[in-house]
Amino acid sequence: MTLGVLSRQRWRIAVALSAVMIVVYFGFVLLVAFDKPLLGTLLVPGLSLGVLLGALVIVTAWVLTWHYVRWANAHLDRRIKEIRAAGPAGS
């Protein structure tokens, strides 16, 4: 794999994961803005939909972070090592 290919692959993954985070968070924010009563709906006593979704936004941030780190530790670092070993000509 050349440096250019790896760089584009990393960029695609970074953008895709950022997009998921942005959609999830701004989805939450827009629900807060547009449908306050919906978020106030009680699912069980003490737990409203809004509180549950807010907690899920935090969990999403954790899951995405964990996912990226796992991919980068396994895949990205190995490719970097290969390209480095190949020397400047390998890029």
Binding site: I22, Y25, G46
Partner: protein, 512 residues
């Protein structure tokens, strides 16, 4: 609950804990001072901090008194609304990880400006970025210093001025003698104390509700109505919501003192691990503050919280007093003080790096300052910033400073984040584009804040505000991106484009 709070009276436990914390951190500083002989050690802790250590230090650098006292207070007075801030302040971290952390570590030495100016002309970019950095750092410093003064006055009974000078002096001791090594360890100790203290309080709260947070929330809803579990008054219009969200999310990726921490680890892999830890720790912390806010709402009561401080900022300390008496109040008060010290030290160090590394060494000396001189200028810059921090704290006494944290995030999202992102990923980015992005983003954000309802109506008591939104990011951040792209396209810079291949190689592979 009914008895009068001891908040505001000199508390010997609080003073004891505080003196213990200062003694411990000064001992760390003494240890660190003997290891700080080069600029690399002063600004980047010799790049020997591990990923996990840096994760704790990032959390310690980021979790300010505004998040601990402010969010717990906001939750205690309005319930759900606090969650809008908590989530916003957390979701910036994954973005930092995906887009910024690794390239930043591979491309720079001490400041994010190293990355922006990498293949561009040094002088104009460094000057613009240093101005952007100092704007964010000063506003953040004002918020922290004024917060520290009020907090210490409320908790220890010391005068505001004494409190400001004590914070300034202790913080300056860390930075001046121990540089980044001492600052890092102060932030690690503080993160552990803050998370430990918040966990202890949360466990004590939940023990009264069968360790089931839902029973706590239900108790709050019984007493104050179901509205506490639904969005309230914080968000008045959809535009407002999106604008605040943009500032919170992308501001994190543009805060100079946070970005600077990535240079303290040995490589990009460690930079990546550190965001993983930071995201986990900060997320836990925000979940804990949500429990603490509801705990204070139920166990202390709305009226008692607002009676001590209108903004609700004393909710967490009051809760500690109800749960564990004077001793626990003293501990939490000392933790809050430690929190401010660690954040202020990080801010001062990043301001000093902008002054000495970006302006003096790179612009005035054109990159060829002797080693001793670099370290000397770095220390002089730290003293200057320490004095500025104390003066700003004294100058803004009595002002409502909550909006300044919001402004600092908006400035970072508009002034520094667009230029940093484009410089990393867009080959066509130019010197003029970078300067234009930083200047227009910073300037627009500052001007719009001035014309916003927060300043015009709340502070200046005018009837109308010319700009309708409390937070300017919705306008200023897209504007900075647009200006950057248009200026770069209008006047392409062949050398900058030619330099991108080398930049891309180093950004992925590191120094080879």
């Amino acid at each position: 609950m009914g008895s009068a709070s001891r908040i505001g009276a000199p508390n010997s436990t609080a003073i004891g804990f505080f003196i213990a914390f200062v003694a411990l951190t000064l001992a760390i500083t003494w240890w660190a001072a003997r290891r700080t002989r080069s600029t690399e050690e002063f600004f980047a802790a010799g790049r020997r901090i591990s990923g996990r250590q840096n994760g704790f230090a990032l959390a310690g650098d980021y979790m300010s008194a505004a998040s601990f006292l402010g969010i717990a207070g906001l939750v205690s007075t309005s319930g759900f609304d606090g969650l809008i801030y908590s989530t916003g302040w957390l979701v910036g971290w994954p973005v930092v990880l995906f887009l910024i952390a690794e390239p930043l570590r591979n491309l720079g030495r001490y400041t994010f400006t190293d990355v922006v100016s990498f293949r561009l002309r040094q002088r104009p970019v460094r000057i613009a970025a240093a101005i952007g950095t100092l704007a964010v750092v000063s506003l953040y410093l004002i918020a922290q210093m004024v917060g520290a003064g009020n907090l210490i006055k409320l908790m220890f009974g010391l005068s505001y001025e004494t409190a400001i000078v004590v914070v300034g002096a202790v913080m300056l001791a860390y930075v001046l003698f121990g540089g980044m090594i001492a600052t890092t360890w102060v932030q690690i100790v503080k993160a552990a104390l803050l998370l430990g203290g918040a966990s202890l309080l949360a466990v004590l709260v939940l023990s009264q509700f069968g360790f089931n947070p839902l029973r706590l929330f239900a108790a709050a809803a019984d007493r104050y109505g179901g509205g506490v579990l639904a969005p309230g008054k914080l968000i008045s219009s959809p535009w407002e919501a999106v604008s605040l969200g943009l500032a919170l999310m992308f501001g994190t990726a543009g805060l100079p003192h946070i970005l600077m921490r990535f240079y303290t680890v040995p490589d990009a892999r460690a930079a990546r691990q550190s965001v993983f830890w930071a995201t986990g720790l900060i997320g836990c912390f925000y979940l804990l503050t949500f429990v603490l806010g509801f705990g204070a709402m139920v166990l202390v009561g709305h009226d008692a919280i607002v009676a001590v401080d209108k903004g609700g900022n004393m909710a967490a300390p009051l809760l500690a007093e109800v749960l564990g008496g004077k001793a626990l109040l003293g501990f939490i008060a000392a933790v809050a003080f430690a929190t401010i010290l660690a954040v202020v030290a990080g801010l001062t160090l990043s301001g000093a790096a902008a002054l000495s590394h970006d302006l003096w060494v790179s612009v005035v000396r054109k990159g060829s300052a002797p080693h001793d001189e670099q370290l000397k200028v770095a220390r002089i810059a730290s003293v200057v910033l320490g004095i500025v921090a104390v003066l700003l704290g004294l100058l803004f006494k009595g002002q409502n400073v909550a909006f300044m944290v919001g402004l600092a995030f908006a400035l970072a999202a508009s002034g520094t984040f667009p230029a940093l992102l484009l410089s990393i990923y867009w080959p066509g980015f130019t010197t003029a584009g970078a300067v234009a992005a930083i200047v227009s983003g910073t300037f627009t954000a500052a001007v719009l804040i001035f014309f916003s309802p927060t300043v015009q109506i709340d502070i200046l008591h005018h009837e109308h505000a010319w700009f309708p939104l409390k937070n300017p990011a919705l306008v200023s951040m897209p504007l900075a991106f647009a200006v950057a792209i248009i200026v770069s396209l209008l006047a392409p810079e062949a050398e900058a484009r030619a330099g991108y291949a080398a930049k891309e190689r180093r950004m992925i592979l590191g120094e080879t």
